[in-house]
């Protein structure tokens, strides 16, 4: 049954991807991208990767779509295609690369084969030792935040640099000048979205906090929580208009949130070094190594959540608070 369902989902993925390439309407492409992410999240879920599925659904299907749309508002909806001759070259390259990739995976182990190398080497160690070393059952959280915590630190800085980049290029830090008049009132005069939105926001915030602090036991963690909480604020901004949203949660506050979040993660690592361990070795934080690891993971996950939430919000506002250009061709 699962196999039929996943075949169905995978073929839908291919169809969506092809449709995305075919369309020249960028609004349609953004919506298809959102559908693609949602299908991908379902696929991840079928493969038992609930943490990844949650991230893909929150970030891929949710926040990025909103950011795409707010960017589209500033430019044109229609794509100016490349020259027809170039399109052919691109198609040939894509087809050849796909063929090579397919051929390249001929010798790969069957999906779900218990004797595949990935299931025999590092993974069993994580599965057997997480409970004893960390004192909680979610192996994904253990790998992300402790075994490979250095990668996660890097990813937090990827999020940070993305926010820095958008603000630098759009010059959105100050939010002044003719590009930044914010006359729109959001959906204030539309009764139904406002009523439904006002009902949703508290539950979104609550769910975000649950995902944040329950990450050690169930799927979730800082990345997902940050994205969900950011979504709640974005919904508020859509309903009440940019001005009200920025008054409630200013650009500077968002920046401070990003800086504090990423610095919190780094600071935990440095404290571990000062207490005699290596960088990010949480076991030295408290007398009991297991409790120390738990404490370290909770704090760094908080840092991740803060940084992701702040970064997504500031990226969204950098686009959304800008006035669409008059010469909209």
């Amino acid at each position: 049954m699962t196999i039929i369902f996943s075949l169905f989902l995978l073929s839908l993925l291919v169809v969506t991807a092809l449709a995305m390439i075919r369309t020249t309407n960028l609004f349609v492409a953004a919506m298809l991208m959102s559908i693609f992410s949602l299908l991908m999240a379902a696929n991840f879920f079928i493969l038992d990767a609930a943490d990844v599925a949650l991230t893909e659904a929150a970030v891929g299907a949710g926040v990025t779509t909103v950011i795409f749309l707010s960017a589209l508002r500033l430019t044109s909806q229609h794509e100016r295609g490349p020259l027809a001759s170039r399109r052919w070259i691109a198609k040939i390259v894509v087809v050849v690369t796909t063929m090579l990739l397919l051929y390249g995976t001929f010798d790969k182990p069957r999906l779900g084969d218990p004797n595949a190398p990935v299931h025999l080497y590092v993974a069993p160690y994580y599965l057997e030792n997480t409970e004893a070393l960390m004192g909680f059952p979610n192996v994904v959280t253990a790998v992300l935040s402790s075994f490979r915590g250095y990668d996660t630190l890097g990813e937090v800085f990827v999020v940070f640099i993305a926010a820095v980049g958008v603000m630098f290029i759009l010059d959105a830090r100050q939010g002044k000048g003719p590009e930044y008049e914010m006359p729109e009132a959001g959906l204030k005069h539309h009764l139904i979205p406002r009523a439904v939105g006002a009902l949703l926001i508290p539950f979104m915030l609550l769910f975000g906090l649950y995902v944040q602090f329950h990450g050690e036991y169930g799927p979730g963690g800082g990345f997902q929580a940050g994205a969900i909480i950011a979504t709640a604020f974005i919904l508020y901004a859509l309903l009440e208009g940019e001005k009200t949203a920025l008054n409630a949660f200013s650009r500077n506050a968002q920046m401070v949130l990003i800086v504090c979040g990423s610095s919190l993660y780094g600071a935990v690592g440095v404290i571990c070094m000062l207490k005699g361990g290596t960088f990010l070795d949480y076991s030295v934080l408290l007398d009991d190594p297991v409790a120390g690891r738990q404490a370290g993971i909770i704090i760094i996950e908080l840092g991740v959540g803060m940084a992701v939430c702040g970064a997504l919000l500031s990226i969204f506002h950098a686009f959304a608070a800008r006035r669409p250009m008059v010469a909209n061709r």
Binding site: L100, L101, Y103, G104, T105, F106, D107, K108, P109, A116, P117, V118, H119, L120, Y121, V122, A123, Y125, Y126, S146, F147, R148, G149, Y150, D151, L153, G154, E155, F157, V158, F160, I161, A162, V164, G165, M167, F168, I169, D171, R173, Q174, M255, I258, V259, S262, S263, G266, G269, V270, M273, L274, G276, G277, T278, F279, L280, D281, Y282, S283, V284
Partner: protein
């Protein structure tokens, strides 16, 4: 806390963790000062690491207290120490030497964000060099790429945005190819640690996923390294970037990708892999030769100064690829020495370009006529950098070209042919450098007052950093022991792994 033990991680986290704090330094000039201080500190750490490694140590560091392959490990040997020196040195010199140029090109209120990106580019590059984990390389590649795009987009006119968009698309394809390759290796070995991979791969080297992983990783990294014909993003990106960013990136950006490629090719995919020799002799060597010839030829006819030097960078990457592709100890030593020396030469050249830009709006070569009359020291620095790029005896560039020619001579008849190509391309370098020198020194200044701002030397800080860099070209040309001995140690490590 024993500092020496923590040096490898400090090398990465010093720039990384200071970057968010830079964003908060709003008052004018403060962000720049902090950036220079952090870059200088990183350089000091790199010097310390190089000294330890030079003494015969290989430094390893297990993050989070987990043994590899369960956790991530850092590893600094002779090759990484050499690259760390180049990267941190370039960041420091470029940040220190381009203060006025930054002030001219980046508005004051945008500078904190700009310098945060600067530090993250530094952190990303050193992170890629210091780590011993294939996926960790990808994470830091993302940091350095994004930071690089942002810095280039800071260029003064809108063409920078177009250039950076092209770079972004191609860079993303390169990084994705790398990630696909790493995913395939992980699928077949179950590990992400480089040493572990090199232990496990010999048994399964003929499986198609491994062969294709090697192909995808090589192509992805060649894209990042601007290997001909995948270099199309580089000239425009370097031309339209702020001058200080060009100094930084031209000196070290593409070299880190070559470093990762060499790491993978020699230490992961080598043992018992038939395709290794094939990959280099059939693929990299001809492309290396082509990029030397074609890029030098384009540079000869290019009218814009920065773009000409950018094409020259593509040609110089060709030398590095050529040396590596010989698969001999001598060839590797020549390549690694050339990485160091090319960073010196290009650093000096682009710094003098930054100096020129303080007084000339238009950096087309024919607009710079007679600049040597008003800016004698800047032009002298350009001359020294140019001589080093050509490979005139007494400059750093000569040392590595000499090593490369020796390595090629040892290859027999085909080697002689390649020596011929290297000599021809050196003559081409003479042509394009001379073309500029002629305009700078022997042409009458243009009468058009709009072309220049003030007829004076560059600001004193920029000028002195430029002169020191130019002087380093001569210094390392006369006393080349440090880069050569590090490069030779690195070559020994790689050749040792290759047996």
């Amino acid at each position: 806390m024993d500092i020496e033990q923590h040096l490898p991680i400090l090398q990465v986290i010093v720039p990384l963790l200071f970057a968010p704090l830079i964003v908060l330094l709003q008052p004018r000039g403060l962000a720049w000062m902090a950036t220079v201080a952090v870059c200088g500190l990183s350089f000091a750490i790199a010097v310390n690491l190089a000294m330890l490694v030079h003494g015969g140590q290989v430094l390893e560091y297990n993050l989070g207290g987990w043994q590899p392959p369960f956790g991530i490990a850092l590893r600094v040997d002779a090759l990484s120490a050499l690259l760390l020196l180049i990267v941190t040195g370039a960041a420091t010199v470029a940040a220190l030497g381009c203060r006025e140029s930054f002030n001219q090109q980046i508005e004051a209120h945008r500078q904190p964000l700009f310098f945060a990106a600067w530090l993250l580019l530094l952190a990303g590059l050193v992170g890629m060099v210091a780590t011993a984990d294939a996926f960790n390389i990808f994470v830091f590649m993302e940091i350095s790429s994004l930071a690089g795009y942002i810095l280039i987009a800071g260029g003064p006119d809108r063409r920078a945005l177009l250039a950076v968009f092209k770079y972004l698309i191609m860079g993303t394809i390169g990084a994705t190819f790398y990630l696909i390759g790493v995913g395939m290796v992980y699928m077949m070995t179950g590990t992400l640690n480089l040493d572990d991979m090199s232990r496990l791969i010999p048994g399964i080297a003929d499986k198609t996923p491994i062969v294709f992983a090697a192909a995808f990783i090589t192509i992805g990294l060649c894209l990042k390294a601007a290997m001909f014909p995948l270099h199309v993003w580089l000239p425009n990106a370097y031309t339209h970037a702020p001058h200080g960013v060009t100094v930084f990136m031209a000196a070290c950006g593409t070299k880190v990708a070559i470093y990762v490629l060499v790491r993978f090719s020699f230490m992961v995919f080598q043992k018992g892999d038939l395709h290794h020799g094939l990959e280099f002799s059939m693929f990299l060597m001809p492309l290396g030769l082509l990029s030397i010839v074609v890029a030098s030829a384009v540079a000869m006819f290019e009218g814009r100064l920065k773009r000409m030097l950018a094409f020259s960078s593509v040609a110089q990457m060709g030398y590095i690829f050529l040396g590596v592709s010989l698969l001999t100890n001598a060839g590797l030593t020549a390549s690694f020495t050339h990485m160091f020396n090319h960073a010196l030469a290009k650093g000096a050249l682009f710094l003098s370009v930054a100096c020129l830009s303080m007084r000339f709006w238009d950096l087309r070569i024919d607009q710079l006529a007679g600049a040597a009359k008003t800016m004698p020291l800047t032009c002298a620095a350009f001359l020294v950098g140019g001589l080093s790029l050509i490979g005139v005896p007494g400059t750093a560039g000569f040392i590595s070209k000499w090593l490369l020619i020796q390595a090629l001579m040892a290859e027999g008849e085909l080697g002689l042919l390649m020596v011929g190509i290297v000599l021809i391309s050196s003559l081409m370098a003479v042509v394009y450098i001379w073309r500029t020198i002629e305009v700078l020194y022997f042409k009458q200044p243009l009468k058009d007052p709009a072309a220049t701002v003030v007829l004076a030397e560059a600001p004193i800080l920029m000028l002195s950093v430029t002169l020191v860099t130019a002087f380093a070209n001569i210094l390392f040309g006369l006393l080349p022991d440090l880069p050569i001995s590090l490069a030779a140690m690195a070559a020994d490590i790689l050749a040792g792994a290759d047996q």
